[in-house]
Structures are given as C-alpha cells and as structure tokens.
C-alpha cells in the first residue's frame, strides 16, 4: 500500500520530468513503436530431474517469448509439483500451456489488448489434444502493444511481474492465493478426481494495462524468484545492468544474474526470505530460503533507434 503511494508519487514526478524530456527531444524523437529486448534465465529446483533438456522449461516452470506484428509477448507458468505423487509429470501442463500461447501469439490469433483471452483460449485448447493432459499451473502474461506503447497484462496465481522505471517499481502484479502457498491455478484433473482438485477458471485472471516508456524494465518471474528476493534486492541487481553496449546481451546477463542470486538464496537456511517472512506473519515458524524452480524473464522496452545507440 505504501509502495502504491510511492509509485504514484514517482509517477507524477516522472510525468513532470518526462514532459521536460520530451520537449527537449521533440524535434529528434517522434513517438515510434516500441518493442521488447528479452532475456531469460532460471534454475530447476532439482539438478537432474529429467535428463533431456526441454526448451522453455526450468523444472516444472515453463515460459515463452513470442511476437507478431502488433505485440511482443512474454509469459510464465508455474506447474504444481504435487502431481508427481500421482505419477504425472507436472511440467507437461505448464509447458503445453506456454507452447500453445506462443503459437497463438505467433500466428496472430491473439488480441494484444486482452492477454487474459489468450490464457483462456490456450487452456481450452489443451483439452483438444488427443494425448490426455493432466496437471495444473499458474499463468502470467505480459504483452507490449508496440504501436500504442502500452503494456497489457493478465495474471492468474502467484507468478508475477514488476515494471521498473528510473530504478523504481512503478507497477507490480497482485498475487492470487486461496491460502498460504496455494495459488490460483488452471487445472485439468483426471476424470476420477473431477471436482476434488483445485481448479480455477481462466476468467479469474486479473488484467491490467498501462503506458510504458523507452527504458522501462519488465521483470516477469515465478514465485521461485519473488519468494527468495524482495524488490530492493531485485532493483539492486538491475541497477548494475547498464554497463554493456549490446542491449540483448545486457538483458540476458542480468536475467541470469538475478536468477542465480535467487537460486543461491533459496538454499540459504538462515536467510529471512520473503517467503519465510510471509509464513511468520501467518504464525508459521519458518526460516531460510525457499527451494523452488526459478524462472526470470527480463525485458527492456526499447525503440528501434535506441538499439542502434551506444
């Protein structure tokens, strides 16, 4: 709540400065479409869960990066690990979900102004597969409408995103949980368990949208990241980002840096992680990091000309 106020103050001052900024830049920089320069990194919570490398997967987390003529889109899905106890691979569901989202975006079957619809559509498509697919996951999608220079988001569960401008968080997603450590989740249950398994409708996804500017940083991650690193720590990592010429390498390196740090902290048993703090607030005596699959997607909002600048 306090951070919300701060966000607003930052927003007002930002507008004022931006106003000056744009006036100065008026002759040289018209409002051209923006795009995302993306990097991805992550770690599976177990080192060798499956021997084969699966694209766009870290353990039971899955993600995608896609673009079409209208939008650049990134998304994450955090698979619920409990399915492993029933002999079901928990990564199958989130991976198929993200793959279907990627395909829909790439083929243009995607309304950039309503990313929640692509979550819903992909979820229903999963049930059209001949192979019986069982599992559950969260879903969080962030889409940049290039021409509008506007970000549209949809979130279901406890994965989330941050939007950082001038080294401050200006937007963040809201976590959706039923109770502690039980996020909202899309699910397809085995027929015998229908009704007994927690399954939230895709319509429960929360949407938001806001304008973005060149230089804004978007961080999309699963709870493996946010449960181990608070915002200040993330901002700290990001502040070290500007040092490289090639924007893509920059973003990629920083994503990896953040993921690595979260990974290390997750195994630190004395560290008072955000997860531990949250548990303690609920009367659960917990300490240390939270070992979990970690997925970090980092994107820098750029215009075409800025990529050419040093």
């Amino acid at each position: 709540m306090a951070s919300g106020l701060l966000g607003r103050l930052a927003g007002i001052s930002r507008t004022f400065i931006a106003g000056l900024h744009t006036e100065l830049q008026f002759k040289t920089r018209p409002k051209e479409p923006l795009h995302l320069v993306t990097g991805s990194a992550g770690f599976s919570k177990t080192i060798s869960q499956s021997p084969s490398f699966k694209q766009w997967t870290f353990g039971d987390d899955a993600y995608f990066v896609a673009n079409n003529r209208t939008a650049d889109v990134i998304g994450v899905a955090d698979g619920v690990g409990g399915w492993r106890n029933y002999g079901i691979d928990p990564s199958a569901f989130p991976r198929s979900l993200m793959e279907t989202c990627e395909r829909m975006v790439r083929e243009g079957r995607f309304n950039a102004q309503a990313p929640a619809t692509v979550i819903a559509a992909s979820y229903y498509e999963l049930q059209q597969m001949k192979t019986p697919l069982i599992g559950s996951s969260t879903a969080c999608i962030v889409a940049l409408h290039k021409k509008e220079r506007r970000l549209y988001t949809a979130n279901l569960g406890d994965s989330g995103f941050l939007v950082i401008r001038d080294e401050q968080v200006v937007h963040r997603s809201q976590e959706q949980q039923h109770y502690f450590n039980t996020p909202f989740q899309l699910a397809v249950a085995p027929p015998s368990q229908a009704g007994l398994v927690l399954s939230d409708s895709p319509e429960m996804a929360e949407s938001s949208s806001f304008d973005v500017e060149e230089g804004d940083i978007i961080l999309l991650g699963t709870d493996g990241l946010f449960d181990n690193m608070n915002e200040d720590m993330i901002l700290d990592c990001l502040s070290k980002m500007k040092d490289h010429k090639d924007a893509e390498v920059n973003v990629q390196r920083t994503a990896h840096h953040i993921a690595e740090e979260a990974y290390e902290l997750s195994f630190d048993q004395d560290y008072l992680s955000p997860f531990a703090l949250s548990a303690q607030q609920r009367g659960i005596d917990l300490r240390g990091g939270k070992p979990d699959d970690i997925t970090v997607l980092l994107a820098r909002v750029s215009s075409c000309s800025s990529d050419l600048d040093v």
């Binding site: 395909r103 829909m104 083929e107 059209q128 597969m129 001949k130 019986p132 085995p190 027929p191 015998s192």
Partner: protein, 577 residues
Amino acid sequence: MQQFSQYAADVSDFSSQYGSETSISYTASNLAGKCNIYPAYGDFTQACVFRTYGPWWKYAPSGKRKFKRTPPGFVSQDFIELEFEYAVHPTKIEIWETYNPGTIVRILACDSSGTDVDRGMTREGKEGRWKVLWEGGPEKSPPESRIFSPPLRHVPFCTRVLRLEFCHDLCEYYTELDAVCLHGEDSQGNYILSGLEGVIPRSRIDDISNMEEKLDQLSLREQENTAVGDDAISIEELPEEVIQLILSYLDIPSLCMASVTSKFFYKHCYDSLQYTELDLQPHWTEVNNFALDSLLSRCHYLQHLNISWCGGNQNCISPTTFSRFLKECGRDLQTLYMSSCKFVNGEVIIAVAENCPKLKELDVGSCQSLDGQSISHLSKIQTLERLNLYRLPVDKDSLIKVLRVCSNLKHLNLGATRIQESRIDTVMKVIGSSCRNLISLDLWRCRLTDEGLGAITENCPHIEELDLGWCSNLRSTTGCFLKLVKNCPNIKKLYLTANRTICKGDLEAIAKYSRKLEQLDILGTSYVQADDVHSVLTSCPKLIFLDVSFCGNVNEETIEIWRTEFPRCSIKKSFQD
C-alpha cells in the same frame, strides 16, 4: 518478371476437419502459414487433419450411396481451398505432409480474372475458372514426413487460389499436413506454349465448329458398306433399350458430347431416362448456371442427384437457378447430396422442401451459407431417411421441428453442429420419441450428457452405429455406456474417441453384450488396461477396426502381438513422437 515464394495466407474453404470449429488443434486452418511440424513425423495438434480416413466410413452402416457413372479417375474425398497473397503463374508447389503422406490426388488453380484466356472473351459475371495443375492416384508412401512437389502443368493465367483434393483410402491413419508453399512468377515471362506440356485442350460442349468436319468423316448409316455383308448392323437398328444400355456407360460429359454428333444421338442422349441418376461432383469445375439450365429439360425423372462441391467460392451457381432446377426436376427426387455447396441457402432449402416430396436422403454438410433456422422448412418432407447436417450451426428448435415428422429417419449426422450444452439433450429426447428406426447417429463433438444418451439408447434399439467422439460431457460413472451396450445389441460401430472416462467396466460390458461389434474407437483413455482391451478382441469376432491410440496402458509391443493374434482386426495406435 519476379519470382515469388509464398505460404498460404488463408484457408478459404474445406470439406471437413478433425478439430472443433473454434479450435486451432487438428483444424483445416493450420494449413495456412509456415511449417510448424516438419521434419517431425507424427500426430500433432498443429497439423491440418480431415474428419475421416481409410475405408472405415464406407464399411459402416451409414455408408453413402454409390452413384453410377462416376468416372473411375475421380477419387477425391476431401478438398481444401487456399488463398495466397500474390497472384502468380505457378511454377512449383510444395506441400509438407507430416503424417501418412500420399493422399493428394489433384491440385487445381483458379483463374478469377474474368477473361476466358482461351477464347479471349469476357465471361459473364465474375465466375472463376479452374484448371488442373496436377492429378495422380493416391499412393502408399513410407511413414516419414515429406515435401510433396509434383510437376505442374503450365497455365496461361495468374492465380492466388489453389485447391487441393485428397483421397485417403490407402491411409493407415489420418493424413496430416503442415504447410503449402506456392512458387511462381508474376508475369508470363518468355514461356511459349508449344502444346507439348501436357495441357490437354478440352473440347467444349458448345464448341461445335470442328464437329461438322468430323461428322463428314463419320458414317452412321453405312450406306456404302452394305455390299460388305448383310450382317453388318448399324447402331440405329439396335433396339432402343440396348442403345440406352450402351449410353448408360458413358459419363455425363461424354454423353453431352455425343449428343451433338447427330440427330439420332441427340434424341437418345437427351432421353430423360439417361438422367435418373446424376453425379455432378466429379465435374464440379464445369457445373455452372448455364449447365444446370441446359440439363433441366432432360432431368424430369431425376431420382438421385449428387451436386456436392459444385458452385464453390466463385459464384458459378446461383440459388435461384438451382431452385428453378428443383422446381422442374424435383418431383421424383429421392437422393440429394449437396455438401460443401456455397449456393445452398435458405432459398434453396425452401425449394427442396416445396419441390421434393419424395426426398429420402439429404446431405447439406459444410454448406457455409446455410443458417441455423432454415432447416425447419424441411419439416414439410415426411419421407426423410438420411439427413446430414455436418458442421452446420443448427438451431435447436428448427431441428426439433424436422425431427418430429421424420419417423422414418435411419441415418442422422449432427457432427460438429455446436448445439448448445443446455439444449442438445432435448434434441436427443425428441430423436428418442420420434425416430425409433434410427440406424446410425453421428454426434461427433456434441455436448450431450448421459441423460441425452439414455434417451437414445432406451428408445432406438435398432441402432447400429453411434459416433460419440469428443463428447466430453459423457461420464462413464453415470453408467451411460453400460446402458448403451445392454440396450443396443445390434451395435456395429461405436466410436468413443477421446472419452477420458472409459474404464474396465465399459469394456467388460462391450465384450459381453456387443457381439456384432465391427468398429471400436477408445482413443485417449488412461483407465483401461491391456487385458480389458484383449477381452473385447476375443469376445467380438467381427471386430475389424480398433483404435487404441493414446491409451497410456496399451503399448506398441502388446499391439504387435495382438495384430498376429487377430489378423482380421486393424488395430490403430497413433503417436506423437
């Protein structure tokens, strides 16, 4: 002169598809765009897949009437029409086949320029004209992904619309395609028609300027040859019935061409008895308003008409012309197949209802211009035995109105009709009360529940064929499948594709009660074990088709053993990797 290579931008028409109308999995629209699957080989969601394959639908109780006079060269069963961004002279076409290849039998290109290039005249209206770029038989190809690129005939026009036609008789399983790429040049270039490229100029029916010469050479009366021997008989001396019999072997274009040779042939070829059965589907490229109007005078005794696929996107046939045709010729019409006909709209259905009082079989599947309510007019016809409404956006009340009067209905296809969940059970109940003689019922992707299924199984004991593929609201725990097999001992074909609840109990019941079973599909269920399936194989001696694809507990090794143990049964196991 610029070279273009372009993938299909859009799928503008198709005869059938496996996936549901609103999905992107296994649907015809997947053929547009770039490759998603190749070089992988398997059953993937990103592929373009048709509704049927192989001979299984012909063997089923609902197998359709075979028309006489179908030219043996015409084997097409499905088609798909593609639009490209730029019109080019096609030089090469590549088709990526990623599962069970070898089904493409014809490739056609559409000339929508409005000018008949052969004659240099402007055609009436904006009719499109189709030219065959390649044709060949279906082939049994090795089970691997391939790029199919046959040699193309040269066409003197630019095109951006292609049609592919398929025959999947030889397929082991569904044929699946990934993408199509059209290569061509935007201008004629230096190509000169030398006449040796395989372009077979078809003599037009109305182009009789050469005929006079040929007629002089022909001699029907054989006046000069009477000296040769008195036993030389001229065709005119044969009895009428024999002449009619001889002519009945000609296909329609040949019959029409023969009719212009002489008055004698004109009289016999125009005899209405030659036109009791008319299969126009193989000639869909030629059938237009003019052709229909010309045929009108000959078709007063018409009983069976197949005009499927005719008309197309190019507006060659208008609803008014066809309605006029029906008014003149519908009196004795018993069979009317007009699937995938763009011109079939409410006006045409009203014409059918008013002019075809003896109609027994009607197929209007995939008629895109037909709205949900028009079919209610069909309630005027009380003699219907077969009704195919595949892929139509059927309105529940209109359908009920028709079903209530169709007590003779034997074959009903409501596949992919998207009747709402809350309403389909009501429709089933009406079928149960009105259509007790039902033999086959296709409910592919219908959202009925066990209540609706119960209405059918309790009231239609003669049922032999039931397609409940992808009916996701049917749950085995309600006992609906047990009731089904107990009440319907005559069942020969039972498709329970992608019903994830099928379990051991259901298979035990099938083994016990369904002794006449010939075809069974239980794709995608995880609850059955190999033993349960084996008991069905042993108990159903007539089983010739069994699909256990994506059933997790039945593996390939077990199936190989079964294939030797039950050689008469074709056991299908599709795969994705």
